[in-house]
Symmetry: C3
Subunit: 162 residues, 3 copies
């Protein structure tokens, strides 16, 4: 959680600009006590000849960001919270989109927290108070901490099903 | 909204075939009074050695399309509407899949309209009548139109949450 | 259904390792009587300079797998079933992640079965007993079998809507 896929024109960002953008994105989540190492950002260069917006191509002035949230989800009626996040996210990325003369579009998806594995473990995303505590430990150390982690039981009979 | 990611064998489509396919996809949405510039199509060439279907690889005769709908969503019981869309979408892409001797697969996801930003704005996707009106203006001009657009209020206290 | 997108450092897997990993993934679904040809695996090499985890980059020791389930979905309360699947999936991929000195993360999304087309047809994913039967035939033959397949009716009036 979260995954940020950034589709952009090749060469748009220098190495240091990528690092700065990633720092800013990651900061949104660490400010909310999520472990930094849960934040994955993948840049995907798209050749102009493969990029079409509004039926028009080739495009070399568009950035399309697809975000997946897993550890935290919005309930359908949490509209203010959703808008608040999008406002904050947009503030973070504008220097790297508008600031570079690009058009841009972002959307966020809500994915099921239980269908998630990090380094072989179900992360403590916050289903219980104990998990909340453990998540803060992971966030503080910025790595998987096995002390206090107990593997959630799986009903063996369920293992053969999809 | 919508985003169309088309995973295909490298070199399958000429520049003019890409343009024609994009025109046909975009037409589905403009016919429904959505602004053309909301439609993003990204072609993603996949090397045969990276493409596996049914356990078999390398593949060079398969097209996999992943579609994300954001402005409009189907309710779980709108089965006829969903089938109608898939039929229409398939009719549009068959010349570019079956017609080129490819196998193909498409699926569409429903994403939350409130978790969406275009050029820094929450698009008028249709939550109110005023938004419907504004969406038609955007569709007609095929660009962001600020006249009549008012930024939806965000509760400031919500901004720090994820 | 399912789609497995595997974002990995370039050159991490040999051709035979890719095949072995795909065989193991595909086996999960065929064991559950799903047709092998429904399983699509796409490897996506990501240059180190485009890969950031926890704010740190360039990364060349991380594998990020995004899975989409379409034919089968978990209901929100089927937690044991979800954990069972993730355990099984992790067991399958660990030799190709942990076993190669990589960190890794996987998540699975649930996508609407009705918004899905394979080779121009709505697959018999199991909405009825007849579909269950037909799915087993497709699984056995490992291809589309038209005998016994009837196109689900679409209300024509719905075709113009999105």
């Amino acid at each position: 959680m979260p995954l940020h896929l950034i589709y952009h024109p090749p060469g748009l960002y220098s190495a240091s600009e990528k690092q700065a953008l990633v720092d800013d994105i990651t900061g949104i989540y660490t400010a909310a006590s999520l472990p930094a190492f849960w934040v994955v950002v993948i840049f995907r260069p798209v050749a102009a000849s493969d990029f079409f917006v509004g039926g028009r191509g080739p495009q070399s002035n568009f950035v399309r960001i697809v975000v997946q949230h897993i550890a935290r989800n919005y309930k359908p009626d949490e509209v203010a919270k959703m808008r608040g996040f999008m406002q904050k996210y947009n503030d973070v990325i504008e220097p790297y989109t508008k600031g570079k003369g690009m058009h841009w579009e972002v959307n966020v998806d809500n994915l099921p927290s239980e269908l998630w594995v990090v380094d072989g473990l179900r992360p403590p995303f916050g289903a219980t108070e104990e998990e909340e505590r453990l998540r803060r430990v992971w966030a503080e150390k910025n790595e998987v901490v096995l002390e206090g982690y107990s593997v959630p039981p799986i009903e063996q009979t369920e293992q053969s099903k999809i």
